[in-house]
């Protein structure tokens, strides 16, 4: 029984860590540019296909394909997304941009289906399907690898944001762009960096999750929803909130499937969302934002 609980906990943390990576992207874009990207799930779906294209069409080995696919993704989902969609739309307000990203999500999904087909495709895992036994409890090495890579990525991001000048400038931009500009911080460049970081995070999430989900054009639907809920649960304006929300969602989802009902597991995150909105709208770790009219 205890072994089952521990296995479920670790598997839930591994999946939750991926939700957290995607949720961090939500919070980063929101904080720096008031962008809510409803194509975030499709942003995770797409890099895996770039990797498959690099492997299939250009015959690159896996890791070279990951680098090539990652570079294309960062350019497309970071730089071009900001320049071609966010910059022209954001001046019309948040809502038009939200609608535009919903349209982008549909476009990305249907394009992949048109080009690569509606089938699922196998994607190489990062580790062999073996187990390690710790104190009599066996854990999947693949889950541990996902967990370790995700934690390392989040730690590196925190280190960058808190320990470097650029990172602190990005934080200043997020807190108050007007004052940041007065202090001589190149605000536009800092915002661009957050889009590039978001793109890098979704590439990482894509490489980690696709061996489990298999590469399919619909992968973004569930991921985008879960990550969005995770960001709201944890606190949309705090990176640590997104991390907590993601991990919590992953663990709760697993325990619900086993100990409550696998049929209702999809409902649990939504119930969580409703409860949080009703009783703690700023999220578990978020801060209250006040706006004057």
């Amino acid at each position: 029984m205890l072994a089952d609980i521990l296995q479920l906990f670790v598997a839930g943390l591994a999946t939750g860590a991926i939700y957290a990576l995607v949720a961090i992207g939500f919070t980063l874009l929101w904080q720096t540019s008031q962008t809510i990207n409803f194509a975030q799930g499709e942003f995770v779906m797409l890099p895996a296909f770039f990797v498959l294209i690099a492997m299939g069409f250009f015959k690159l080995p896996f890791w070279a394909a990951v680098l090539a696919g990652g570079a294309v993704s960062v350019l497309l989902l970071g730089y071009l997304f900001k320049k071609l969609m966010v910059d022209p739309m954001i001046r019309h307000g948040v809502l038009p941009l939200v609608i535009a990203t919903i349209g982008l999500a549909i476009l990305m999904k249907e394009s992949v289906r048109e080009f690569y087909g509606a089938d699922a495709w196998p994607f190489p895992p990062l580790a062999a399907a073996t187990n390690v036994t710790v104190f009599g409890v066996s854990f999947a090495v693949q889950s541990l690898v996902v967990l370790v890579i995700s934690i390392a990525a989040v730690a590196a991001l925190q280190l960058f944001l808190n320990g470097t000048r650029t990172g602190r400038c990005m934080q200043a931009t997020a807190q108050n762009p007007t004052v940041a500009r007065l202090l001589g911080i190149p605000v536009e460049r800092m915002i661009l960096y957050t889009f590039l970081i978001n793109a890098a995070l979704v590439v990482l999430a894509s490489i980690l999750i696709t061996p489990i989900y298999l590469a399919k054009f619909t992968n973004g639907e569930l991921l985008g929803l879960y990550a969005f809920i995770a960001a709201i649960i944890g606190g949309f304006n705090q990176i640590r909130g997104a991390i907590a929300g993601g991990l919590l969602l992953g663990v709760v989802d697993n325990f619900t499937a086993v100990y409550i009902s696998s049929q209702y597991r999809m409902a649990v995150p939504l119930v969580f969302l409703i409860v949080i909105i009703l009783f703690r709208p700023q999220g578990l770790l978020g801060r209250v934002e006040e706006r004057t009219v």
């Binding site: 196998p122 399907a129 989900y213 697993n254 086993v258």
Partner: protein
């Protein structure tokens, strides 16, 4: 004079075009081209396309070329009804699909009312019990396959306990209920009964449940993509098996998606592109050449369904939907009579199918047939 020549020429062209259009018989594929069953539906559709192209290349049926129109149900019962209505508005001679049993169920009444023969890919047991005289299977229903699997689990694997993971849709529920009944009759205890959702992507929690059950056999009953994900997760978590299943678990697509995780999987397959039959091997080669991928059992289902229609129509000597449906009941077609049928096939009075089937195992990423089981009628 020039104008007159032009007018006569145009009139002749129109007449010829009209005659050419009249020399076509309409077939419709209404099935899953997208959505969670796109893999199965795509295979079935490509089997239909291959058969249609071959028949057309040889002059068609009763000298009429087949005009095939495709309709995508998106694996969605609501869409399936709308698409089937669209197909019926085109007055097809026969309809192929759907593959998803739920979609068959919601459209079969429409087919019955329109009196159009439909050759389905759905395998849910109840479909042939609903009294539709125009419905014909292209593969076994679960009531035929499950007793064979239960015998295999008892006699070959000597299992006393079984952990079951199944997909909660019409196909999965029908198979699960039928298997439970067959296992109970053989004193095999089901120690885990894990329901999953169609299109589910994360099976970590479900596999933990299977592991905790510590059963002699793990039975996986889902659609191809989900079977592959389950197998990957099972191997990841070190679940030992043995893993047993029906056609979908051993299908080419599942093997391709699951990779090494599919090795060692065993079970019963109603149809297989790897069947040790030369005509099936030829079909597999032609299919692969045409579509650049290896077909699974659904490709065979679509292909042989079209040839069944061809055979009966040519026997009738006319395009008559009612007569076609009537003649199909109680009919046996042998490969000698119609090579496109590939394997001797019979239909009973409910539209249920009977043909030989196979026991198989996945070895080194290939489905290997280990035993051929006779037709139930023999």
């Amino acid at each position: 004079m020039t104008r007159l020549k032009f007018a006569l020429g145009a009139a002749a062209a129109l007449l010829l075009a009209g005659a050419a259009a009249g020399a076509e018989v309409k077939f419709a594929y209404v099935g899953e081209i997208s959505g969670s069953l796109a893999v199965s539906g795509g295979n079935f559709r490509d089997g239909v396309i291959l058969a249609v192209e071959e028949i057309n290349a040889k002059g068609g049926i009763l000298k009429q070329k087949i005009a095939l129109t495709q309709y995508d149900t998106q694996t969605n019962p609501g869409v399936a009804r709308a698409q089937m209505q669209k197909a019926l508005d085109g007055e097809p001679y026969a309809v192929f699909g759907p593959i998803f049993s739920g979609n068959v169920k919601v459209t079969m009444q429409m087919m019955q009312q329109a009196e159009v023969p439909h050759f389905i890919g759905g395998e849910a047991a109840e479909l042939v019990t609903l009294g539709d005289p125009y419905l014909f299977r292209t593969s076994f229903g679960q009531q035929i396959g499950m007793p064979k699997i239960a015998n295999y689990i008892r006699d070959e694997l000597k299992a006393k306990t079984l952990a079951l993971i199944w997909v909660n849709n019409d196909f999965g529920k029908g198979g699960r209920d039928k298997l439970m009944k067959e296992l109970a009759a053989r004193n095999i205890k089901v120690v885990a009964d894990v329901s999953t959702e169609s299109g589910q992507v994360d099976f970590a929690a479900d596999v933990v449940k299977l592991k905790a059950a510590n059963a002699d056999v793990v039975f996986v009953y889902s659609n191809e993509e989900e079977c592959a994900r389950i197998m990957r997760e099972a191997r990841k978590q070190g679940l030992k098996g043995p893993f047993v299943g029906d056609t979908t678990l051993l299908s080419q697509k599942t093997i391709e998606l699951a990779g090494d995780a599919a090795n060692g999987v065993q079970g019963h397959v109603g149809l297989s592109a790897d069947a040790p039959i030369p005509a099936v091997a030829d079909f597999k080669a032609r299919f692969q050449k045409r579509f650049n991928y290896i077909p699974d059992h659904n490709g065979l289902k679509g292909y042989s369904g079209v040839y069944a229609v061809k055979y009966v129509t040519e026997k009738l000597g006319k395009f008559d939907r009612k007569a076609l449906a009537k003649m199909m009941h109680g009919l046996t077609i042998t490969p000698k009579e119609e090579p496109g049928i590939l394997i001797e096939t019979s239909w009973d009075n409910t539209g249920e199918i009977d043909r030989i089937s196979f026991l198989a195992e996945v070895i080194n990423g290939q489905q290997k047939i280990t035993k051929t089981l006779p037709k139930l009628g023999k």
